[in-house]
């Protein structure tokens, strides 16, 4: 299965600023996904990112707040913009590989604290 390198591992940010999270995959993958896990909650899908097309955002998430780039088949970034303390969460990228149904692999996660 794919190996995903996610950076940064953790960060503490001031409200009103933005943070960009990077995911690098060791093989080419079609589907990449970004999730948020708020404290004490389960994982919620933010968006699905396919190379060469705009990301598909889930209900409750908008591009202005969570812009995503997917410049090639091994890399993606998620930016958390104009942060508030409510954005404090773990952010995870994931890839789907192989034949459908996919095996899904997760990055190591980014723990974001907004103060």
């Amino acid at each position: 299965s794919a190996v995903i390198s996610q950076k940064p591992s953790r960060d503490i940010c001031q409200r009103g600023t933005s943070l960009t999270i990077q995911c690098q995959v060791d093989s080419q993958v079609t589907m990449m996904f970004w999730y948020r896990q708020q404290p004490g909650q389960s994982l919620t899908l933010i968006a699905t990112a396919n190379q060469g097309s705009e990301a598909t955002y889930e209900s409750g998430f908008v591009i202005d707040k969570f812009p995503i780039s997917r410049p090639n088949l091994t890399f993606s970034t998620l930016t958390v913009s104009n942060m508030s303390p409510e954005d404090s969460s773990i952010y995870l990228c994931s890839v789907g590989q192989g034949r459908i149904p996919y095996g899904y692999t997760f990055g190591s996660g980014t723990r974001l604290t907004v103060v």
Binding site: S42, T56, G103, F106
Partner: protein
């Protein structure tokens, strides 16, 4: 609305006990059900289930899917303190946006398992 529900939400047991975690789902265009273990940040894969009634085993862990009842169970026998974690159930299914279908995972709330020595 697509939904995955896990029970119990938390469970405290002693080493050596056997536990059963439950997952039920209501989704459109089901593809598979997955179980993950989350200890720190990243969920680690346990099982993928696609066919009803076929048990998957890995050591002390086993899982089975019932597509008629839209549910799955995860069993852990002879629990150890290292089994303490959040266990997540997720369903892979097709969703639609703007006339385009795409696969997505919908997660349950998770079961927090604590195993005491």
């Amino acid at each position: 609305e697509d939904k995955v529900v896990q029970s119990p939400l938390s469970l405290v047991v002693h080493e050596g006990d056997t536990v059963t975690l439950n997952c039920s789902y209501e989704v459109t265009n089901f593809r598979s059900l997955l179980w993950y273990k989350q200890e720190k940040k990243a969920p680690t894969f346990l099982f993928m289930l696609t066919s009803s009634g076929i048990e998957k085993k890995s050591g002390r862990l086993s899982s089975i899917l019932d597509k008629k009842e839209l549910s799955s169970i995860l069993n852990i026998t002879a629990t150890q303190t290292g089994d303490s974690a959040i266990y997540l159930c997720a369903v892979d299914h097709l969703a639609n946006a703007g006339g385009t279908s795409y696969g997505k995972l919908t997660f349950g709330q998770g079961t927090i398992l604590t195993v005491h020595p």
